[in-house]
Symmetry: C2
Subunit: 507 residues, 2 copies
């Protein structure tokens, strides 16, 4: 690099690493809120997150940073920057550009309302009291609508700028198209599978003790290559999630009696997210390229480990003895085959997070159908429960018993995450494309998995996804890793193969 | 208030609450570092704390804030502000004034080096390797010397500005005078007590299981009036501490075999700090007045509960059956009297945190003698271990076995806390003055304590110390609460009475 460019780039690094550290600090405080905070600490916590958001925003829109980035964009176009550096400049410009159109007061209002709204939602859901939550949802929608208006290229499409917070390279139209393509093929398959004689799933309804589940969760995390208290933590929270990055990755799970063995799969899921964060390029720590490219790609990692690996015959063959040793009484009459069928059995449930892989995406369709209407104002908050139940019935054939099993079930909207749900389906589709590519690279992949060796899969994902961070945009990364653009074909092939095997039939 | 003043004051509140939230955020991240963080997360954590410190500092020195504070000082002098408001303005001006002379890069360098230095110290102490720690200590001393030079009224006294970070209303000369007054009376008393036949302390050397200690710790916290997961937490860390404030107070303890029953007293100590924070004026949350007035006053709270209440005959009479129920085998041959003697027995130990109340302050004198020399440069870092051992021998009559039991034992200097140690002695002295005043207000105080009723003491402290926050400066508060300025008389009276009772002799 030219000496001048070197100095300018170093200045960019210094400024950006502070922004990045503020983001990580906020992440730790949100983790704390979910996992550690005494109950009455919520108001102070909301002030802390709002302050961090205000300053994060202020730093992001700083004029000095903007000037430096414009200089560096020029330097990149002249070939003075390497590919990682160019990507850092491109990504920083993208984020700064988005932030510069948002008033700082709006950004901190959203952060504060997210923190408060999540707490109210938690309580409202527990009481099945939509009316209690409604004013907070309305307030958040109003804030996010204002936010979208600042960003929208087309004021008639306020949904795209929101979803691009999570999936920067996709538009609302593209996500909707992916979902409707999938729906067309998925609905008849779901109908066929659901109408078949169902496997015995009573093993899933038993009550397993938390200690055993915790040991199994720790075990699966270490199988996936985490180094325990060196680089990660596993804790308990009301809703499982993963946060942190690089050498400090934090996953949570929950142990509640009605979840049966779900904690085990929840841990596999979150550890899939965690592995992505763990293996991002550490030499770029604090720079934009050392972050996940999008939530859809993130979700492809969690589903890869949870569904493609975790619920496969091969993995269950390996892990079954450990499951049975941990719960000898509960699993006395089971074997790896019976567990495989139970874990994969399709059923129509009102709750998204309880859904099997096959019907899961129908839940996403309900949400992605409704949320653009909430944002545009075509659907009033108070009319949401009824609209939800109607749309749900069209897809599932029955109406949820109450709002806690309907429109009140997810935390996302309380925290302002509109446009997030679609990324789950993108992730499901991508996980299957990745698995096919990984399998092509390692034809004996399943033998490794059946022997408890998860390293080939870990290695392939690290090589083709993790280590690149955000060097490529999502579409380019997907094409490079899997050889094709994102679509529903691999997912449908996976469903057909898995469900033919589970139901011992031809679909 | 005049409408203009009202608006100006509101603007001050808005600005200050962000500063305050940033401080709390940093506190949570430091707590996380000690209690929760995966080992390899240290470098990212240091960046987060440095970023928060940089921005905290930047906000503190903001010109708009300064102008507003100057306007409000004028409004206060004209009588437009109430006493809480005036105190907030006075305290904010004091803090902003100090911050405005410190370059932001120096402030964030200190924060970063503190985080790194503490990690190196931890390891160096474990290995008894002073040379490993020395360059980090030297770096921190250089930074703090620079810091002190910016603040010093007199460049020959760089120690006063450092200790005023912890004890704003005292000078180095005043602290030194308090310590030498105390030393004069204390040394002959220690000599007399140490030369006497010692009580049997073998009960303290036994190994108690962590579960029992944890239950007892939780029990004592709830006796003191904490509401469990509602307003507080108790966790485990390498070194016990207390952080957080108001409705989110976090205490830690440690359960290590060689500590015997120490965890129980460590919890009482930290909960004393915690109760102060818990009872600060919540309606002023986020404003300067809602904070502890000084570290000396803070320490008076912890010692009040640990030593004056916790190690008293009355409290031990109450708690002994619970201790014995928890550890029936270990305490089979004990009674409340034998425990009382063991817990209070005086002995000369090399380690400050293991010291009994009587000899504790001699440890402080070693440190307060040495640290001004480190700051002035008259004592080189590499000469510290020898200087420590020499001074220690003068006061204790023997030399520590190694640096881990000598100059490497405390974490304070690694984190840049020079001028902190003196506040322990101020706290010890004040705790006795407060106890005398509280006892005068509740003549049957000890009967309450003997019945497990700690509410009179809690109530009195809340009324005379906690609820005022920083409304008064430390000297005024001490005078109002105890009727006299700070001195060693009450502490010496306490020692005489307690040790005459423990050793059943006349001193």
């Amino acid at each position: 690099m030219e000496p001048d460019v070197t100095r300018t780039y170093q200045k960019f690094e210094t400024l950006w690493k502070v922004i990045s550290a503020l983001g990580r600090a906020a992440g730790k405080i949100q983790w704390d809120q979910q996992v550690m905070m005494p109950k009455q600490g919520g108001d102070m916590c909301a002030e802390e997150l709002a302050a961090l958001e205000e300053i994060h925003h202020e730093r992001m829109v700083d004029n000095e940073l903007w000037r430096i980035l414009c200089d560096l964009r020029h330097a990149a176009s002249e070939g003075f920057l390497d590919s990682m550096q160019s990507a850092n400049v491109r990504l920083a410009l993208r984020d700064a550009d988005r932030a510069r159109v948002i008033p700082v007061s709006l950004a901190s209002d959203i952060a504060r309302q997210a923190c408060i709204g999540e707490q109210v939602w938690e309580e409202a859901k527990g009481r099945n009291d939509f009316a209690m939550f409604a004013p907070h949802l309305a307030k958040m929608i109003k804030l996010k609508r204002a936010y979208a208006r600042y960003l929208a290229a087309d004021l008639k499409d306020l949904y795209t700028p929101l979803l691009q917070d999570y999936e920067p390279d996709f538009t609302a139209a593209e996500v909707t198209k992916l979902l409707s393509d999938l729906r067309e093929q998925l609905t008849p398959l779901v109908e066929r599978v659901i109408s078949m004689p169902q496997p015995d799933c009573s093993v899933l309804k038993k009550v397993y003790n938390a200690d055993g589940l915790h040991r199994l969760s720790q075990r699966v995390i270490s199988l996936m290559g985490f180094a325990g208290g060196e680089d990660s933590r596993l804790d308990v929270s009301a809703h499982p999630f993963c946060t942190g990055t690089l050498k400090d990755v934090r996953m949570t799970t929950r142990f509640v009696p009605e979840d049966g063995l779900e904690a085990f799969y929840s841990t596999l899921h979150e550890a899939g997210h965690g592995l992505y964060e763990r293996n991002l390029p550490y030499d770029q720590a604090g720079m934009p390229v050392a972050s996940a490219v999008s939530l859809g790609v993130h979700e492809s990692q969690s589903r890869f480990w949870e569904v493609l690996v975790g619920k496969s015959r091969s993995f269950l063959r390996y892990i079954f003895p450990e499951l049975q040793n941990t719960f000898p009484d509960m699993l006395a009459n089971e074997n790896s085959d019976s567990l495989y069928r139970a874990f994969n059995a399709a059923q129509l449930t009102p709750i998204r997070v309880n859904a099997d892989p096959l019907t899961y995406n129908l839940h996403i369709i309900v949400r992605v159908d409704l949320e653009p209407l909430l944002i545009s104002g075509d659907l009033e908050v108070l009319a949401l429960p009824e609209a939800w139940n109607r749309r749900f019935k069209e897809l599932f054939g029955f109406t949820p018993s109450d709002d806690a099993h309907g429109s009140l079930q997810d935390t996302h909207w309380s925290g302002g995450s509109f446009g997030y749900f679609g990324t789950y389906t993108l992730g499901n589709e991508l996980s299957c494309q990745l698995y096919e590519a990984c399998h092509a690279a390692y034809p004996d992949l399943e033998n490794h998995i059946a022997a408890g060796d998860l390293m080939p899969a870990r290695h392939w994902l690290r090589e083709h996804i993790h280590r690149h961070g955000s060097l490529y945009d999502a579409k380019t990364l997907i094409k490079k890793a899997t050889g094709k653009p994102l679509g529903c074909e691999a997912l449908m092939r996976f469903f057909k193969k898995r469900y033919e095997d589970v139901y011992q039939t031809s679909l």
